[in-house]
Symmetry: C2
Subunit: 133 residues, 2 copies
DNA sequence: GTATTTGCAAACAATTTGCAGATAT
DNA sequence: ATATCTGCAAATTGTTTGCAAATAC
């Protein structure tokens, strides 16, 4: 896998990932791609998403115990996973990040990146839950 | 599933999780339990680990694209996932956490908890990689 | 006594992979 | 021309679940 060729599939997968509103899953991208190119397979979608992420053209957001998301955005941000509906939302942070400086045992490894996953409830689910009571 | 009974399985699963050095996977706990009780099944291990986590007796650490870990530790800390070997290591942070205060759009959801996952290389893998060059 | 829990095997979800044929360069 | 990429289906990994039998209370 040397990732050398610009195939139609790769092009359209990038385009759809960019067009889809917010951190779509591979499945969502797959459906969008198939709307135009019905013979594209899931394997191809995954292969290309990983290639594109490797090239830095998109960002892969790994969500524990849920499908990975692929993000067209470039700026650094984090995510909230709604424990009720499983939805993933952007979490914006103030600049002047002190997370890396707060690590105590930094000699134990080389840190290349990090992501914060918040757990909780999105507005919709929280509201619904309140109504239940 | 009302989680009412203290079964032998539940007891030993908690004990093994506590005894095993550091954030073992369900698989590792399963093996440890089977050493003493060979008929315990994987399903029982998962069910009880989730129950114990629900009761707050252990902590479930969700690792993206890898087996979840179960932690006997109680104090708040984070984790590094080594991108080479897949190992998971504790990351200790200075107290006086400012992560929650740094969230800008906090009105959009209710945040109950969070975890930071660092990506990088552990000492062993980093050293090995250097030798390759 | 009876509701909960177990063991087993089968189901599940997300992702990866082997391979023969197709395609970009 | 040929190495890379695709489509397909099957494999993999981690976890959950349905069900009849076992067990804690």
């Amino acid at each position: 896998m040397k990732n050398k060729r610009e195939t139609i599939q790769k092009t359209i997968i990038l385009e759809k990932t960019r067009r889809l509103a917010n951190h779509p899953t591979a499945e969502e991208i797959y459906r969008a791609v198939r709307a135009d190119f019905p013979r594209v397979s899931m394997g191809t979608v995954y292969r290309n998403l990983n290639r594109l992420a490797g090239e830095g053209k998109i960002k892969k957001i790994e969500i524990p115990n849920a499908a990975d998301r692929f993000d067209h955005q470039t700026h650094f941000h984090h995510h909230l996973k709604c424990e009720e509906c499983g939805g993933v939302y952007d979490v914006e942070m103030k600049t002047g990040d002190s997370v890396l400086e707060s690590v105590i045992n930094r000699d134990d490894f080389v840190i290349k990146s990090y992501q914060i996953i918040f757990y909780g409830a999105c507005q919709k689910c929280h509201k619904k839950h309140k109504e239940d009571i």
